[in-house]
């Protein structure tokens, strides 16, 4: 294809991408460099049914004038990125100086929201992704070997976790793991411990969230692998069988190499999805023990009555960079394979 034809073909999608992806990202970035103007505070006397008290109010007229002059807010540079809510450089320097060992330092690191969120987000990403890949593949192979009449219903049932909305799915599980719920009560009975609570222990909460993540995402990798299995060349399989390859060897040496590009595709999608883990934390009310990067953005914008657009913007930019760094190794590998193939 000529370059100009290619450009013309992709122009619509490129312009849409520019309008709805590139411009918003730039705008979020610009927002993250600005903070609110100084609020003009006045001391006021407030009276309510229970008495009068001296408090403070915002002088809205004076504050509005400031806002009108520069609607974006006060320029703050990269200070939002370096403050306590994000990379906390100053605080970390202090912590490094005052810690006598690395473990003490790591413990102090955990006190800062971004690092705390990163520790869960990365653990979640690196545990859930391989499990989903592996289990999804196993289910796909299993379903592929079923007699034809069972295939349809099995596929449908296997897809259910993905069909259930994440928030609903996690809420249902949240009720089930309650001390009075089916799973929670059973566990208490098995371990003979009436105070066993999946919600009260940090470790159990993390495990619960990851098991939920695996359960929820497995259908995705299953269905992609299953589709891939339909394209495995039967001649090669037959040839391998004639050569005396066992079932396991056929899968190991024929099927898996054939499905490798798919596996890379699934890994990319899963890494991106898992890095943005959010709904289960809300559904399981797990904020006490596990927070994620996306949860931080939500918290900056929603939990306080005062949306901190700069902090949310900065966390969003950090998310984008995080995803880029995660995907880099996989992308580099794909690029290398592609070049080698072209050479050969």
């Amino acid at each position: 294809m000529k370059h100009s034809t290619f450009l013309l073909f992709s122009l619509p999608s490129l312009s849409v991408m520019f309008l709805f992806i590139a411009i918003p990202i730039v705008s979020v970035f610009i927002q993250s460099l600005h903070i609110e103007h100084k609020q003009v505070i006045i001391v006021t006397e407030n009276c309510d049914p229970f008495g009068c008290e001296t408090t403070t109010s915002v002088d809205t007229e004076a504050s509005a004038k400031l806002k009108e002059k520069a609607p974006l807010g006060k320029f703050n540079g990269f200070k939002t990125y370096s403050n306590r809510m994000h990379f906390a450089f100053d605080e970390l320097g202090e912590a490094w100086k005052s810690s006598d060992s690395f473990t003490v330092f790591v413990k102090k690191l955990y006190n800062y929201p971004l690092y705390r969120a990163l520790s869960f987000t990365l653990t979640y990403t690196f545990i859930v992704t391989p499990f989903v890949l592996f289990l999804g593949f196993l289910v796909a192979v299993g379903v592929n070997n079923l007699p034809k009449m069972f295939k349809g219903p099995t596929i449908f049932a296997s897809l259910l976790p993905m069909i259930v909305t994440p928030l609903v799915g996690s809420l249902i599980l949240f009720w089930m793991v309650d001390g009075d719920g089916v799973i929670g009560a059973t566990l208490q009975k098995i371990f003979n411990d009436n105070s066993l609570s999946l919600k009260a222990s940090p470790v159990l909460t993390w495990i619960m969230l990851m098991v939920y993540g695996i359960w929820h995402l497995m259908p995705f990798s299953f269905i992609v692998f299953y589709a891939g299995l339909q394209t495995v060349p039967q001649e090669t399989i037959e040839a391998a069988t004639i050569d005396g390859a066992s079932k396991f060897q056929r899968i190991r040496h024929v099927v898996i190499p054939h499905l490798m590009p798919l596996a890379i595709f699934i890994t990319l999608i899963l890494l991106m999805d898992n890095f943005r883990v959010f709904e289960p934390i809300i559904g399981f009310r797990a904020e006490a023990h596990a927070t994620s990067i996306s949860w931080l953005i939500w918290n900056h914008l929603r939990e306080s009555a005062y949306p901190l657009y700069n902090a949310a913007g900065a966390t969003s930019m950090i998310t984008i960079f995080g995803v880029a760094i995660l995907l880099l190794p996989v992308l580099i590998r794909t690029w290398r394979d592609f070049k080698e193939k072209n050479k050969g």
Binding site: I35, E36, H37, K38, Q39, I41, I42, V43, T44, E45, N46, C47, D48, P49, F50, G51, E53, T55, T56, S57, V58, T60, E61, S63, A64, K74, N76, T80, N83, R84, M85, E91, N111, P113, D178, G179, N194, S195, S197, K199, A200, P202, R285, E287, A288, H289, N299, R302, E303, S304, A305, Y306, L308, N310, A311
Partner: protein
């Protein structure tokens, strides 16, 4: 067919005449749009406003949502605003006033508010900004039968007495975790700290400035009290808010609770619980600290406001409609739905806790412009202390640091 039409016309005329007859609804043909939270007392106010004045308005829309707090500023900022009135509480009034989204009501009160009591008027710097109609606060719930069985004399009146009562209940083998509190991470856990800190006589900010001042002996004492209480609270307390604690109470799984007064009516009614629980549940004042006199609670009011960014005639019609509902007849019909501040309220057993707490001299929820940011920081940073992974001083200094960062970004420091 003609008969049906006749009946319809009859009904409509009856409706119009009765509404015109009953209440002064201000200018005709205006649009009335209300944003409010979602609980029975607010429905009662909005219902009576609607039945009085919907006939003379061009439209009467109500949006009841528990998420009102999250959308109100965005909804009221454009001109014209999405709603002509937002029904607020202490903290949400501040939230709207910070952006200048509510208008002073003095002239409207003069014209339509003859029947309002003076303590219903919320004034800020001498200007009436809201009309309160009900009060609310956290306070203590207890089960007389369980306290009796475990040998507790009288009603625990201080936190130390609550803790020793809880220990007796545990020792008697009746319940391992006899306490319920709203300790869900975020707003709720922050609010529990606020109440206990106020009971210790704490101040949230340095006088006249937006600098937080909670990392002091009173703050540490408040956290120690909180920790001692949490020992006896349900294992999953960090996930529990009002609905959950109410559920535990109604299931008979708790003996002492710190819950909202607005839950009293629901807990004491004969739905969702057994007679054993309801007949033995008593509502009393929030406890004080030993030797102190301030109940550990924040007093709240709910009231109506009128938007800045709507036309004067819409504002007038909305105000007239809403205050037309604040009558002793409305209170009589919905007496147990709230602790009404309106004339004609007969306090029942469900109101005993809030009345006793207010009379004991509890403080109002602080109306500082920057309070929400501190509350948010408390909600996020106290959890490590409650989980036992951090000292009280460290937790409080974290709160101040988080607050400081957020307050700088939001322009308060």
């Amino acid at each position: 067919m003609i008969f049906k039409k006749l009946i319809l016309v009859g009904f409509i005329s009856l409706f119009f005449s009765s509404s015109l007859y009953a209440a002064d609804c201000g200018p005709n043909g205006q649009s009335i749009r209300i944003l409010a939270s979602d609980f029975p007392a607010i429905h009662a106010i909005a219902n009576s406003a609607e039945s009085n004045c919907a006939g003379s308005a061009s439209e009467f829309n109500r949006n009841h949502t528990t998420e009102a707090r999250q959308i109100m500023n965005a909804a009221q900022t454009p001109n014209p605003a999405e709603y002509t009135s937002v029904i607020v509480a202490n903290s949400t009034l501040v939230q709207l006033m910070n952006d200048g989204l509510v208008r002073p009501l003095d002239d409207l009160v003069e014209k339509y508010g003859g029947h309002l009591k003076s303590n219903q008027l919320i004034t800020i710097d001498g200007k009436i900004m809201a009309i309160a109609f009900m009060a609310n606060s956290q306070h203590m719930y207890y089960r007389t039968d369980i306290l009796e069985k475990s040998g507790v004399d009288g009603i625990p009146a201080t936190y130390d007495e609550v803790i020793s009562a809880a220990e007796k209940i545990r020792a008697a083998g009746i319940m391992e975790h006899p306490l319920v509190m709203n300790l869900k991470v975020g707003w709720n856990v922050g609010e529990v700290f606020n109440t206990i800190y106020l009971a210790h006589g704490g101040e949230f900010f340095k006088p006249g400035s937006a600098e937080a001042s909670i990392n002091n002996a009173k703050g540490v004492a408040a956290l120690e009290t909180m920790k001692a209480l949490v020992e006896y609270a349900h294992e999953d307390h960090l996930t529990q808010a009002s609905d959950d604690t109410q559920g535990l109470w109604e299931a008979g799984q708790a003996a002492i609770g710190f819950m909202w007064g607005s839950r009293g009516g629901v807990i004491l009614d004969n739905e969702g619980s057994s007679a054993e629980v309801t007949s033995n549940t008593v509502l009393s004042a929030a406890p004080t600290v030993t030797g102190g006199s301030i109940p550990g609670a924040t007093l709240w009011w709910d009231g109506i406001t009128i938007a800045t960014n709507v036309s004067d005639s819409e504002a007038e019609a909305t105000f007239a409609a809403l205050v037309s509902g604040m009558t002793s007849e409305m209170v009589a019909a919905n007496n147990d739905d709230a602790i009404w501040l309106i004339d004609g309220f007969k306090p029942g057993p469900a109101a005993a806790g809030v009345s006793a707490t207010a009379q004991g001299g509890a403080k109002s929820y602080p109306m500082f412009a920057q309070m929400g940011l501190l509350h948010n920081a408390l909600g996020a940073e106290l959890v490590d202390f409650l989980k036992g992974s951090e000292s009280a001083e460290q937790a409080l200094s974290d709160v101040e640091a988080v607050y400081e960062t957020a307050a700088k970004d939001a322009g308060y420091l």
